[in-house]
């Protein structure tokens, strides 16, 4: 349904995308993963007909984005990473306005708005002014807005950013429901555990290049051969975490160290012996509270791939 082939895009001297290639089959949820500035938003904007690629081709439903943008706009629903709402419009009026912008006949607009508000569980906010809604409600309304013309493909750029845990769960359920309705969904996010639960396909991008793309299980099996460790310290002050991080980074076989709120996540090669790492920390008077192996997940794939790209 979505096919991207050798996409290239530069902004002056800066190369934003380089040979980006991936496919998303019909009815799948594609998780588009990458650090900030990796090229996710640029790719999505090209698919949404907002930017033109310098070279390469992107098609949606077999229609080239660059050659028939108006036709592509009928096929896609786009939700940007940041979007505003209009003041002094109710939720129903907001959806009816965008339905009109997408050419939905006048007699159907009210019904479309009612059904979509029901879908995103905002029926009771029908007459509430959109600028007074909470962030989570605005995100759900934004998703409803992307659906006003019943598109086949949804392009969702960081739809869960800034949401509280409850709103994230609701958003996730909503996206699953949309898949059941037959939509093909491309979703970019930083929240990897959630993407792992949600997505059937995944693509990793870093520095404007695709590191891997394909069905979730295939990509994970192909990439993950090492392990990840979770190390908690008794003293998780800034200075102690930095000291432990530096010690671990200098150790042979350590692929990457990510500092979390109160612990470290360490990606290591298969050759590394866990006892050696623990002994290293204890020997340097780092008080270790817990030391555990994390089961393989999307975060690990991400760490491996981005590490590979950097090296």
């Amino acid at each position: 349904m979505i096919a991207v082939e050798s996409l290239h895009k530069s902004y002056g001297e800066m190369v934003a995308l380089e040979e980006v290639t991936f496919n998303v089959p019909k009815g799948e949820i594609f998780g588009f993963v990458g650090p900030n500035g990796a090229g996710k938003t640029t790719t999505i904007r090209i698919l949404a007909t907002l930017n033109a690629a310098d070279s390469g081709e992107a098609t949606i439903g077999g229609i080239p984005v660059h050659e028939a943008p108006a036709e592509v706009r009928n096929l896609i629903g786009y939700m940007p990473d940041f979007f505003g709402v209009y003041d002094r419009l109710t939720s129903a009026e907001y959806l009816e306005f965008y339905a009109a912008c997408h050419g939905v006949p006048r007699r159907k607009r009210a019904a479309v708005a009612r059904e979509l508000l029901e879908l995103v569980d905002l029926s009771d906010r029908r007459d509430t002014q959109v600028d007074t809604l909470s962030r989570g409600m605005k995100q759900r309304l934004g998703l409803a807005r992307a659906l006003v013309h019943d598109p086949l493909v949804l392009l969702l750029d960081e739809p869960a950013s800034g949401l509280d845990p409850r709103a994230r769960v609701e958003m996730k359920e909503l996206i699953r429901e949309l898949r059941r309705m037959g939509k093909t969904i491309l979703i970019s996010s930083h929240i990897l555990p959630e993407l792992e639960e949600l997505c059937t396909w995944v693509g990793f991008i870093d520095g404007g290049r695709m590191a891997a793309a394909g069905p979730m299980a295939e990509v994970r099996d192909a990439v993950v051969s090492g392990r990840r460790l979770r190390i908690s310290l008794a003293d998780h002050s800034e200075g102690e975490l930095t000291r432990a991080e530096e010690l671990l980074r200098d150790h042979q076989g350590v692929l990457n160290v990510v500092r979390m709120h109160d612990h470290l996540e360490v990606a290591v090669s298969e050759a590394v012996i866990d006892d050696d790492l623990l002994a290293l920390l204890v020997g340097r008077k780092v008080r270790v509270r817990s030391f555990a192996v994390i089961p393989g997940d999307l975060s690990e794939v991400f760490l491996r791939l981005t590490k590979d790209e950097m090296s």
Binding site: T49, I76, Y78, G84, Y86, R88, L89, C101
Partner: protein, 319 residues
């Protein structure tokens, strides 16, 4: 799509409806309309009172027609001044405001064309100005009771006011498409309004004075002749619409001669004459159309458009 269908769709623009609904829900909309009408009414009332007392002071009876026409002119000039202040303010945030609110991208991914966005924004801003002008019409019609103003003067003065609003609004929409921030587009829109109203007047005076001195130095007649730039000034156009005489009219050839050569035309009574207010309206219409085209071009540049069909390579090689 037939031109009629395109025109009908142009009027059924969702942006106009949305802007209208959200604008009229603020407390500002009725307050501004009330103030607008109250201020014009106050100017008219003051002029009528002054005209009457002035006549009494000089010992004569007030001549209703003279007082009426002067009150009408005062209100019309005041209204034009208000329109010059309001039009840029209403339209300067049209596109840049969408950018600042982060709603433009979502609009660009819809089926609304770049022209639809620009036209919708302009129409929405102008609809409010038209509402203000309509709201003040009863005041103008009240002055008819005094006489001194005929219907054509009334219509021409309103045409000048509306065309000035449209021109300043279109330029403001263009600047809002050009600049990222509404502050920059507002400042530039007011600068453009200043150039059109005050700038053309100053330029005209400078050019006219310099030409008068030149003619005097060359031994010619040193009578003062308005420069062509004066014809682009909406206040002069309004003055002409209200108090124009055959003497102020010019032929098209005479106007072009004045514009490009700076020399007044010789009187050619056989040629059709054009009133200065009409020249101003045409000039403002050209500026408005150019501004809309420019704004459409800028908005279109923010999304991918269908590429122009290229000629096949064979055809190019054959050519």
């Amino acid at each position: 799509m037939t031109p009629w269908r395109r025109f009908a769709e142009g009027l059924d623009n969702p942006i106009v409806v949305k802007e209208g609904v959200s604008r009229m829900r603020t407390w500002r909309a009725p307050v501004v309309a009330t103030l607008y009408v109250a201020l014009i009414g106050a100017v008219g009332f003051a002029w009528l009172t002054l005209g009457e007392s002035g006549s009494q002071f000089s010992g004569g009876r007030p001549v209703a027609a003279v007082v009426g026409s002067q009150a009408f002119a005062a209100m019309a000039f005041f209204q034009l001044g208000l329109v010059c202040l309001f039009a840029p303010a209403l339209a300067a945030g049209a596109i840049s405001g969408e950018r600042e609110r982060q709603t433009l991208d979502v609009l660009l991914v819809s089926r609304v064309s770049a022209f639809g966005i620009v036209w919708g924004k302009l129409l929405a801003s102008m609809a409010y100005i038209l509402l203000l002008i309509l709201a003040s019409l009863p005041l103008f019609s009240a002055v008819f009771l005094f006489g001194g103003i005929d219907f054509s003067q009334f219509v021409f003065s309103q045409v000048v006011t509306i065309s000035t609003a449209l021109c300043l609004g279109a330029m403001a929409v263009f600047f809002s498409a050009l600049f990222q921030r509404s502050l920059a587009s507002t400042v530039t829109s007011y600068a453009a309004a200043f150039v059109l109203t005050v700038g053309t007047a100053i330029l005209s005076l400078i050019v006219s004075t310099s030409q008068t001195f030149s003619r005097a130095n060359a031994g010619g007649v040193a009578n003062f002749q308005a420069a062509a730039e004066w014809y682009f000034n909406p206040f002069y156009a309004l003055y002409n619409a209200l108090f124009g005489t055959q003497a102020t009219s010019t032929t098209l050839r005479g106007f072009l001669q004045l514009l490009f050569l700076g020399t007044p035309s010789t009187n050619n009574s056989s040629a059709a004459t054009v009133d200065p207010w009409f020249i101003c309206v045409i000039f403002e219409a050209i500026l408005a159309i150019a501004s809309v085209i420019g704004a459409v071009y800028l908005v279109r540049g923010r999304r991918v458009s269908r590429p122009r069909k290229l000629e096949p390579v064979d055809a190019l090689e054959a050519g």
